[in-house]
């Protein structure tokens, strides 16, 4: 299969990989870059497990043609932490028991980050809307909504 060279920013770092012609960004990240924080769920745009930020906007990596991100910036859940420090969203997910099996969590975190980056003090309804494209089959969503809401400026009481 024909391979195409691709360069982009991955969590702030320049990377160069070869991708299959017509291949999606999800595979480029998992197999090319080695970032397996991005999950394959449905491959149809229905579940949100593969959500990443492209130039700061939430996109589904399984429906993104890898070649279209040449020169652009991709953020994944793997890039949320700073050294040993977890991102506030990650801490909040732990504190609120917002993950059970954890498969949806990377996508949920990125969908939440897309919201918080743009709107630091969202309403509860805006939180619900922001993760409406992400399916979780374990938690029933409430702990996830509480976690995101607790990070939002002025939203919910932050837990110790």
């Amino acid at each position: 299969m024909a391979k195409t060279a691709l360069q982009f920013r991955h969590n702030g770092r320049e990377v160069a990989v070869f991708v299959d012609s017509g291949g999606n960004l999800l595979n480029a990240l998992r197999e090319g870059v080695g970032d397996v924080s991005v999950k394959f769920g449905c491959g149809q745009g229905g579940c949100g497990a593969c959500t990443v930020l492209i130039d700061g906007e939430a996109h589904l990596s399984c429906l993104t043609l890898a070649e279209t991100i040449e020169g652009r910036s991709v953020e994944t859940a793997d890039g949320l932490k700073t050294g040993p420090e977890l991102h506030p969203l990650q801490k909040a997910f732990m504190d609120n028991f917002a993950a059970q099996c954890g498969y949806c969590t990377p996508g949920m975190l990125m969908a939440a980050k897309a919201l918080i980056d743009r709107n630091p003090s969202p309403s509860r309804q805006e939180v619900v809307e922001a993760i409406s494209g992400n399916i979780c089959r374990c938690t029933g969503y409430e702990p996830i909504i509480s976690a995101i809401f607790s990070v939002a400026a002025g939203g919910g009481a932050k837990r110790a």
Binding site: G43, H59, T68, L115, V128, I131
Partner: protein
């Protein structure tokens, strides 16, 4: 399955490539074409892209708005000129899908998807299509009816007359809120001339393989006032001409049963 990706600088070159290759599909936001690739659709051998920025422009001149085929659903939501389409755009997908999915692509979305096309159909929109031999304008109804036979061309923009405030009403019935595919969607544009309905348009999604007009119900409303008897006439004809599918969201029988209920509520301005 090897797939070749061809990126062209102009719309004309892309249209020529699409019309000369049966296995070629145009890639807009990726929500349809990449999905087909992920599912291993063997008929798809070439992905065509265009770098022309004109495809993502929105122009408003006089009472008419022209929306580039590459405009995303998220872009519609940030555009005040397109306020009349906000409710429809917001009802589609989650934020990531709206950041990707385009106006042009929505015209090709198979039932039960394609809710934006329902609103555009109720607005009598015009679709600009670039084929291998030139550009043409097609009424959206004609476009949708022939879309599955005419894949070798490229939609460049969609235009419509801007409706009077609140003249376009839209409702999507889905099992999951806020995001869920349509049990069905319905858009009505009911211009009021001197208290009487003139030029009513009623469009359904998920009631046929593509978005369709409810012409019998439109005729029943023509010249009537939107009172109990005028609305009852339209509701009586609501299911004429529909051929809804049975799928995991609803049965064909259920869709036929509820179409009139929701048409009545929408005409009355009631909540779902």
């Amino acid at each position: 399955m090897p797939v070749s990706v061809k990126t062209f600088p102009t719309i004309g070159e892309a249209a020529a490539a699409l019309s000369s290759d049966r296995g070629a599909r145009y890639l807009g936001g990726g929500t349809l074409v990449m999905r087909a690739l992920n599912e291993g659709e063997v008929a798809l051998s070439t992905v065509v892209r265009v770098q022309d920025r004109g495809l993502s422009q929105i122009r408003a001149t006089g009472g008419r708005v022209t929306i580039g085929a590459g405009v995303t659903l998220a872009q519609i939501l940030t555009e005040r000129e397109l306020a009349f389409l906000h409710a429809t755009a917001r009802s589609i997908g989650g934020p990531a899908v709206r950041n990707m999915g385009t106006v042009g692509g929505n015209l090709y979305a198979p039932s039960p998807f394609g809710d934006l096309a329902v609103a555009l159909l109720a607005l009598d929109a015009t679709v600009s299509v670039q084929g291998g031999f030139g550009a043409r304008e097609v009424a959206i109804e004609e476009f949708l009816a022939g879309r599955d036979r005419a894949m070798g061309s490229l939609v460049t923009s969609i235009s419509c007359q801007r409706p009077a405030p609140d003249a376009l009403r839209y409702r999507k019935i889905s099992r999951i809120k806020p995001k869920g595919a349509s049990v069905f969607s319905i858009a009505i544009h009911v211009p009021n001339v001197g208290g009487r309905v003139s030029g009513a348009r009623i469009a359904y999604g998920a009631m046929a393989p593509t978005a369709i007009r409810a012409k019998a119900a439109e005729r029943a409303l023509e010249g009537r006032t939107l009172d109990a008897s005028g609305i009852a006439a339209a509701v009586g004809a609501a299911a004429e001409g529909i051929s809804p599918a049975s799928d995991s969201l609803a049965s064909s029988w259920y869709r036929r049963e509820v179409v009139g209920v929701h048409l009545r509520r929408l005409l009355l301005g009631q909540d779902a």
